[in-house]
Symmetry: C2
Subunit: 319 residues, 2 copies
DNA sequence: GTAATTTATACTCGTTTCGAGTATAAATGT
DNA sequence: ACATTTATACTCGAAACGAGTATAAATTAC
């Protein structure tokens, strides 16, 4: 057998928020699992990786990407194309892109659709309450995973990971540990991808909706990065219309973070940080007092170093 | 001409701190510029990218890497191997690794040596004072770069970048913007790599020591990442001996961040966060009162979510 | 051997930030 | 008229933070 060649795959988690629903652009490949838009890097014609990504995302989905950010490069054997192309190794570079849904082009392929990202990660949405599945399904299965450790040290490591990820034992919930949680569930055999990649027999209820290849891992990385970045860079505004009410802004942040925020403090932060300015116009709401419409003050980027939408709730909020 | 093949190069910024000098392992390739240790990813034998990295770093430098972290994947044409192998495209994945110098192996290749990282980035060390070269050399040249913009909008963009990077106009110095500053200097033609990559004639004094390929860019990414991570994860301890005084710890943090810290507050933070515990033993100093030796409390990782060595000085410190 | 010097460590003080709450205003629907 | 919904202003106490002072324990200079 020849030495396998390498090819580089580019995958993009293209994110938008409609109302209170954070979504990702998913491609339904001929009846099989959802996938992120992905395509090959063409070394002959693409000057940089990001330009390559923009090129075929445009071709494939009609999207003109705005804000993009490289996430991570995965090269694991077995977690990509386990059956296909056995003599070509695919190294996949994941990207995060942010858009407004209104910018969605008419010519989007029909097999491309927005899907709420909590379909893939139902345990990540703590806005209403702690998702019941954590106590009813996840933690019992993870405790079993701990118990089945090959030895005592491994058990302790696993127990620590479970506590850190799902906030057992009084530890607070960390909204940014999305990847760590997914990887833990993968290793514990609680997501469908584990059985697909390893060929083992499925022996537990699969959690969330699976994706092709390692795309759910890339999406987890994207959510984690976005949740983190939110707090120290004004990236939310990439997802907002030019004018918005403060509540709309707050709901968007909450949708991304999967957490509820204190309304009055959120407004105070926005005002103090100079991130937004009123337009004087009022919204036309269905109910309640109309709110002022605000816009993003792009100038902050020049005035202050790295303003973000701090979430508050940094003091211990136990799980 | 055939379609160019892709190969994946792995480069590592292996960092240690001796005393007050943060250093990186550099390879002096037969009289030419310094390079980071780098080697190819072998798709036939390496199960993951990181395992591939560990394998040949071991072979090439004798190092057994401890803490490692992927940084970024660069695929720009022209900034890697501009002359060599025109029909193979190299995509390079950069890594950060942290070690203690004491762990340096005897069998290290003789062309491999520790070099202080401020040789490559002299403008990044603000411990004694603002580096004079910023006012004497960098800002004048950057103001020229702004003036030579093709049009007014470009000039404004460039001016903003200069202010944000080097803290002109009352903006504070941000120790984490290492990559942004290097990229700005590159585009402004103030580093040797720019002329090497573009073939243009050198028309300005080159700043800092150049490196092969895009390795100075990878090192800039590494420093930026490390400076950021320092503040929310206990990574410094990867660079410390098992027992150390609080001043040694502070000096290490200062060396990495390129900033001076307030001694009493630094101790208070360490104590409050539970990051260290006293051993009861005392150091044997050259001068002054002996200090207690401390050790890292690994347990914090289990008790608290994400403790870092907060630097203090987060309130505006103008440049 | 005493004073100056160097480093360690405890403690204080005023400001800012932050979480959490109350109070009031302005719209809609019944 | 009044309950309901949303907007917005303001307050209060706790914690975190920046910047000190004060004192202790060692070495070095004279």
């Amino acid at each position: 057998m020849n030495a396998p060649a390498v090819s580089i795959g580019l995958s993009a988690a293209i994110v938008s928020v409609e109302g209170e629903r954070p979504s990702v652009l998913a491609v339904a490949h001929d009846g099989s699992q959802d996938a992120l838009p992905f395509g090959p890097f063409d070394p002959a014609h693409d000057r940089t990786l990001e330009l390559g990504l923009r090129k075929w995302v445009g071709e494939q989905t009609g999207f003109d990407l705005g804000y993009t950010e490289q996430l991570y490069t995965f090269g694991d054997r077995g977690r990509h194309l386990s059956s296909l192309e056995a003599d070509t190794r695919v190294v996949s570079v994941g990207y995060l892109a942010l858009t407004r849904q209104a910018q969605a082009p008419a010519r989007a392929a029909s097999d491309t659709q927005w899907r709420g990202w909590y379909h893939y990660f139902p345990w990540e949405d703590w806005r209403d309450a702690k998702p019941p599945m954590i106590d009813s399904a996840i933690l019992p299965a993870l405790r079993k995973f701990v118990k089945e450790s090959p030895n005592a040290e491994a058990a302790e490591l696993r127990r620590d990971r479970v506590n850190l990820c799902f906030g057992e034992g009084g530890l607070p919930w960390d909204d940014e540990k999305v990847l760590e949680r997914y990887e833990l569930l993968y290793e514990a055999g609680l997501v469908e991808e584990f059985f697909r990649d390893t060929g083992k027999a499925e022996n537990a209820p699969a959690l969330g909706t699976a994706m092709m290849f390692d795309h759910r891992r890339i999406l987890a990385t994207a959510i984690a990065r976005l949740r983190g970045k939110l707090k120290y860079r004004p990236v939310v505004f990439e997802l907002m219309a030019p004018a918005f009410t403060l509540l709309e802004l707050q709901r968007t942040v909450e949708a991304l973070a999967g957490l509820r925020l204190h309304k009055q403090n959120f407004r105070r932060l926005m005002a103090e940080q100079g991130l937004v300015e009123g337009t004087g116009k009022l919204s036309a709401p269905a109910r309640g007092r109309p709110a002022e419409l605000f816009r993003f003050r792009r100038e902050v980027l020049r005035e202050r170093p790295a303003p973000g939408v701090r979430l508050g709730a940094r003091r211990a909020r136990t799980a």
